[in-house]
Symmetry: D2
Subunit: 165 residues, 4 copies
Amino acid sequence: MSIRIIVTGGTFDKEYDELTGSLRFRETHLPEMLRRGRSMLEVQVDVLMMIDSLEMLHHHRQQIVEACVRVPESRIVITHGTDTMAETAQVLAATVPGKTIVLTGAMVPYAFGSSDGLFNLGSALSFAQILPAGVYLAMNGRYFAAGHVMKNREVGVFEEATQGE
Amino acid sequence: MSIRIIVTGGTFDKEYDELTGSLRFRETHLPEMLRRGRSMLEVQVDVLMMIDSLEMLHHHRQQIVEACVRVPESRIVITHGTDTMAETAQVLAATVPGKTIVLTGAMVPYAFGSSDGLFNLGSALSFAQILPAGVYLAMNGRYFAAGHVMKNREVGVFEEATQGE
Amino acid sequence: MSIRIIVTGGTFDKEYDELTGSLRFRETHLPEMLRRGRSMLEVQVDVLMMIDSLEMLHHHRQQIVEACVRVPESRIVITHGTDTMAETAQVLAATVPGKTIVLTGAMVPYAFGSSDGLFNLGSALSFAQILPAGVYLAMNGRYFAAGHVMKNREVGVFEEATQGE
Amino acid sequence: MSIRIIVTGGTFDKEYDELTGSLRFRETHLPEMLRRGRSMLEVQVDVLMMIDSLEMLHHHRQQIVEACVRVPESRIVITHGTDTMAETAQVLAATVPGKTIVLTGAMVPYAFGSSDGLFNLGSALSFAQILPAGVYLAMNGRYFAAGHVMKNREVGVFEEATQGE
């Protein structure tokens, strides 16, 4: 079973730039994380874009849709900023049939000490192997079907919600 | 959905004792790991024992069987040393029906920098939520049914194998 | 020998705020760092302020001068943002006689994985114990006398420079 | 000013071997630690040996003496196991005149999360730059002259002691 990991950025891959004191993207940490988890899964990592999901526009989401349709794998994990992950999931659910797509991200960059990134990656890869075709979010150890989840910005966790909330 | 985590020790929870320069067990790191993963799962953590799985005897495995039968949850994750994890899995498969039991561990202690522990925990908790009743191992990002897996000690990964190998 | 550590903030003590995705100050990490270094020095930690040194105004530097004069210790370490550390050092050199004052900071927050903070703290505390009365900067493993150092912002290191550069 | 770092092993450089579950030596972490500290010191790192100091015999200490005499630098830092560091220091004090030699080590391997290694390295390099010719130990943030220090094994810290204790 082969899984495609599509990287779009988000807090997951942010780093601290010591010259400017700000956060930025450089190389994705996915390969390093798979090594740390000692993953023996057959996985292909594609870096599609590296942006904060608050900056995602329609054409970014279109690129993600096209990538999901184009790749041969029927099981896909997408790393994504948590702020608009639920939105991207709904677009995918409406446009990409017949594949198991699991979106995940992190509340703290993997590059920092106390990140949830590695936990979420292990979680998402497991859900991607078993869940039936459909689009899901994997955060906080749980999974949510697209259209039935929202990010609670006050406490920084994902919760069930009815579509359109 | 409620998950029971039964802690039995193994490399997962080992620590470095600076006074003796050796490795030892103290408190389990499970609660700290669940906090780091920002887990919102309904989980109960039980510390059943804290031993190296190479030191497990029949009565240790009996305790694990009894704990799995006794707890009300039908979905269980067991943290366990990797050396004899496959063995404990086979005993459970023969004695505990009707529950989804996922064993996991770590090749490097969580307390050390480059541990696979957090990745494996996220992975195991996800498999525990969706696999049907049965006994499984979750290691290296994958899952294996009890009786069909062995630890390859030369390279330190888990692989499929026929029962009795 | 007693050393006073005066905390003023800077990158040294910044943290990642996962709800806003930005960097901010909370509690100082100094006590935790002294524990990690297993320091047996007689040290008193005072949090005077927690600000980015780019935001320091005259009255902030006045507070630092007053604190250095007021404390009984004649050996002082000040944690400070690296951007205007050389400036504060010159003000101190002109106003606080008879004490060994060593300023230090970090290019990467201690709270992140790859910080120079612990190295700089060990370095600064050592210089504070043996340098004669005067004001110094301890960065990049070296020490510089106040008035003879500047931060090279292009590469993020401290170098010797003549006063007023 | 040039400093020679002579690596002899000790807990400082130990690593976790995941295939055997034991601690062992591989490559020294000194270069990585100097990069992390963003050291701009002129430093030459020599790996003389990689052993636990409890296993040091007379000929090992002779090698260390010869290395200290041979190198052109007059300022030297030696990384060493903490168990017999005081002993090696006394041998050096009796045989190597005219150089500032600072021994340091770690209670927890640098490769693990909560190591004092980086703090001790910053500390030792600073003492090496300033202290007059002689042999010293740098541990717990402090420095001790050779012959006047012992390791308190019960609590794992270094304390002043009269020679021969």
